[in-house]
């Protein structure tokens, strides 16, 4: 048997010309620290996104034709690393990650020209209209209707859990164009002007007390048929598009982020003299193992993509791993602080502006949003392990 060592495929080194160029650009144009006043943050972020776009540094995975960079996957990783390193703001809304891949793949040429560049430049913020009060995990049962009247749809219904909904200019929505019982077969992908008559956006106060999400109400909102992506009733298939392997880059970024968070928590425990407690140390060992495995998983996924174009099974479980980790680390931190962990940020005795307590509350959403843990486990079991679909549930 012969074996030959294969040259390692790695992300290009820091001396790579692209990285150097990007770093120079980031140094020259860095937007500085975010403004204190929350009302100034939106225009500040938009300004930065426009700077990126105007200099050709927006949309690493996007086609050049629509203002993107069309980078190789290896260079996309470099891009992600450098952006994280520079601590500059990321895209606004969820359009770039969720709607753009669908539009790039299924939109008409005219739609692409009209929508993509302004989305990438941050001129218009795109937000998602998928979930409804009665359609969460069972999204195919959604009820917001779009009734055809000539060359327009008339949209009625309600969406909920729209991230950054209050800042939205454009809503990419799934609406029912088929019969009430048509499920996946009667859903269309519609792009709706958030400022159109009949659209009402209400901030939704979540359990943290904050307003990250919004509810959106549609009351006889008229939308041109030309603003439908893909065929009528083919929206479900379109909505499940993603631009390949962007998640892998995201996982690596999260691994680096949580490595930093865990180190900060260790420092806090050390300062408070708690690291000598064997029970505390063992909890840290557990988190240390997990945070490193999150990185190993991301690296293995990326290695697989670079070598074979295949993300493999590790990528399918990485989100489950990360969501459980972020809940556990925050709860452990709160426990570690004892009663001081209960203090809100305006209490003078609050530790680190109450970041751990806020994290404890905020990460309740981690195992719910973008697919609950339970639904994801079902998906992994069926799609990766090939276990049979529950015959009591509607077909996928």
């Amino acid at each position: 048997m012969t074996l030959e060592r294969e040259a390692d495929v790695t992300v290009p080194e820091p001396d790579d010309a692209f990285r150097a160029r990007l770093r120079e650009f980031l140094t020259l144009h860095h937007p500085g620290r975010p403004p204190k006043d929350p009302r100034e943050r939106l225009p500040w972020t938009k300004g930065w996104l426009a700077t990126l776009f105007d200099h050709g540094y927006a949309g690493p995975s996007w086609p050049r034709e629509f203002g993107g960079m069309e980078l190789s996957f290896a260079h996309q990783m470099v891009y992600t690393e450098e952006m994280a390193r520079a601590r500059v703001p990321g895209p606004l809304g969820t359009g770039l990650n969720i709607a753009a891949p669908t539009i790039i793949k299924y939109g008409s040429q005219q739609q692409k020209e009209r929508w993509l560049a302004p989305m990438l430049r941050g001129d218009l913020v795109w937000v998602q209209g998928y979930s409804e009060p009665e359609a969460g995990s069972d999204l195919p049962s959604l009820r917001t209707t779009a009734r055809r009247e000539g060359d327009e749809y008339v949209v009625n219904g309600q969406k909920v859990w729209t991230s950054h909904g209050a800042d939205g200019d454009v809503i990419f929505a799934l609406v029912r164009t088929g019969t009430r019982e048509s499920r996946q077969k009667g859903i269309s992908y519609l792009i709706i002007d958030a400022h159109a008559p009949g659209v009402q956006v209400r901030p939704l106060r979540d359990l943290t007390g904050g307003h990250l999400f919004a509810e959106i109400f549609f009351d006889d909102v008229r939308v041109p048929v030309a603003d439908r992506v893909g065929d009528e009733n083919d929206g479900w298939r379109l909505a499940r598009t993603s631009l390949g392997h962007e998640r892998a880059a995201g996982a690596l970024l999260q691994a680096a982020n949580y490595r930093r968070v865990l180190t900060e928590l260790e420092e806090l425990a050390r300062e408070r003299g708690q690291l000598t407690d064997p029970l505390v140390r063992d909890r840290f060992v557990d988190l240390e193992i997990r945070v490193r495995i999150i990185r190993f998983n991301a690296e293995r996924t990326i290695g697989g993509i670079l070598a074979r174009g295949d993300a493999g099974a590790a990528s399918s479980v990485s989100r489950l791993l990360i969501t459980a980790f972020e809940q556990d680390i925050h709860e452990f931190a709160v426990d570690l602080l004892g009663p001081a962990g209960l203090l809100g940020k305006s209490a003078p005795q609050a530790v680190q502006r109450s970041r751990w307590l806020l994290g404890f509350l905020r990460t309740r959403a981690s195992t719910i949003g973008a697919g609950t843990t339970e639904i994801q486990l079902n998906t992994v079991a069926e799609q990766v392990l090939g276990l049979p679909h529950d015959p009591g549930m509607p077909p996928r």
Binding site: I289, I302, V317, V380, L387
Partner: protein, 389 residues
């Protein structure tokens, strides 16, 4: 990219997997187990001769293929999946790597070629009552013998020695007057008594090894014949500690690879059964309760895989985090394998509780592997130290 994922390693994996499918099926594992055999001679001869697997991690100048932890890990992963009954882990992963790490040219030249070609089986005996590989817990003593004072004899009892009752060569750690040292003794030596212990794992034997003034050969671990290291210091004990630390890293990473293979096989068995077992008129794998168990096991298997491949790559390349990566892989895979073995029994229900079903063989191997080098809490303590927590 991670070791374990490359095309060449995939080819190695396929060859080993195919071989074990043919030559180490469940019926064969059970035949050897019931007979109390340590191996099938024909299978051992094929895997060492035709496939060259015993020489995979032995340096080329001693008749091996000169590969390292990454390649060895792939072989062990497959052997762990198949529960191969053979003294491979003890001979190749423990004794072979321990000899190579000793740097003792004479000892390597004497024994490594036999390990490489499969003619010699061997093991490493460190732990005693606690099973721990901590030198502080080694009580066996070595004393100089002979008129010239160049001979040695060892007295003491080693426990939990993997395949210790059948090994042709035993590498024994004992306390010499100048500090802990490494000693070699061949089967049949005077005052050497070995016995298989009645223990949980039925497909890999643990033995007690008693030495009573047994004549042994002292290995020079990382030092010259005058007992000095490269800097000229008399640092015998220190060298043995460094050697043992390096060997432990290699051993736990190798064991983690084997655990990964075992866990993956438990998941396969559970998923395979959940697809065909019908209750309430439908396959039990269509129930969420079963799906979620299986998906969670997949998560642990994939995390274990990432940890093992990273560790073996780090060890092969001598990366700064190699020791930590090795302990991490072992700590993680220990839990993952035992969890997978328990869930495999649970998902199989009644049939999984029978002697005839293989599920318990994996549970036995899993729990046993978890405790082989001492209580799991010690691994976690070492991990905390290495991570600076």
């Amino acid at each position: 990219m991670s070791a374990g994922d490359s095309t060449e390693l995939d080819e190695l994996r396929q060859v080993v997997r195919e071989f074990l499918r043919e030559r180490s099926a469940s019926s064969e594992v059970r035949r050897l187990m019931e007979a109390g055999e340590s191996r099938d001679d024909a299978v051992w001869s094929l895997l060492s001769g035709q496939l060259g697997l015993t020489g995979i991690a032995v340096p080329e100048r001693f008749g091996g293929a000169g590969y390292g932890p990454a390649e060895l890990g792939i072989v062990l992963e497959e052997m762990g999946a198949a529960l191969l009954v053979a003294p491979y882990f003890a001979t190749v992963a423990l004794a072979g790597q321990a000899l190579t790490a000793s740097g003792d040219e004479e000892a390597m030249a004497r024994w490594l070629p036999g390990i490489a070609d499969g003619s010699l089986t061997a093991t490493l005996a460190v732990g005693e009552e606690s099973g721990s590989w901590d030198l502080a817990e080694v009580a066996a003593t070595a004393v100089p013998t002979g008129a010239a004072g160049d001979g040695w004899s060892v007295t003491g009892t080693k426990l939990f020695v993997i395949d210790g009752h059948t090994a042709d060569l035993l590498l024994v750690v004992a306390q010499a007057p100048d500090g802990p040292g490494l000693f070699a003794v061949e089967r049949g030596a005077a005052g050497l008594a070995t016995a298989r212990l009645d223990a949980l794992d039925l497909t890999r034997a643990l033995a007690s090894v008693t030495l009573d003034g047994t004549p042994v050969v002292r290995l020079s671990v990382g030092r010259d014949s005058a007992g000095r290291d490269s800097a000229g210091r008399d640092s015998v004990g220190r060298d043995t500690a460094d050697w043992l630390s390096a060997v432990t890293d290699l051993a736990v990473a190798a064991l983690a690879a084997e655990q990964l293979g075992g866990a993956a096989r438990c998941l396969d068995m559970a998923v395979g059964y959940a697809k065909v077992r019908q209750q309430f008129g439908r396959p039990i794998g269509s129930f969420q309760a079963i799906k979620h168990k299986c998906a969670n096991l997949l998560l642990e298997v994939e995390c274990g895989r990432s940890a093992v491949y990273h560790a073996n790559e780090a060890l092969a390349d001598r990366q700064p985090d190699a020791a930590l990566a090795a302990v991490l892989a072992y700590a993680y895979c220990s839990q993952a394998f035992t969890h997978a073995a328990k869930e495999c029994i649970q998902i199989h229900g009644g049939i999984g509780y029978t002697w005839e079903h293989d599920a318990h063989l994996y549970l036995r191997r899993a729990k046993s592997s978890e405790l082989l080098f001492g209580p799991p809490a010690r691994q976690r303590t070492r991990l905390a130290e290495l991570a600076g927590i």
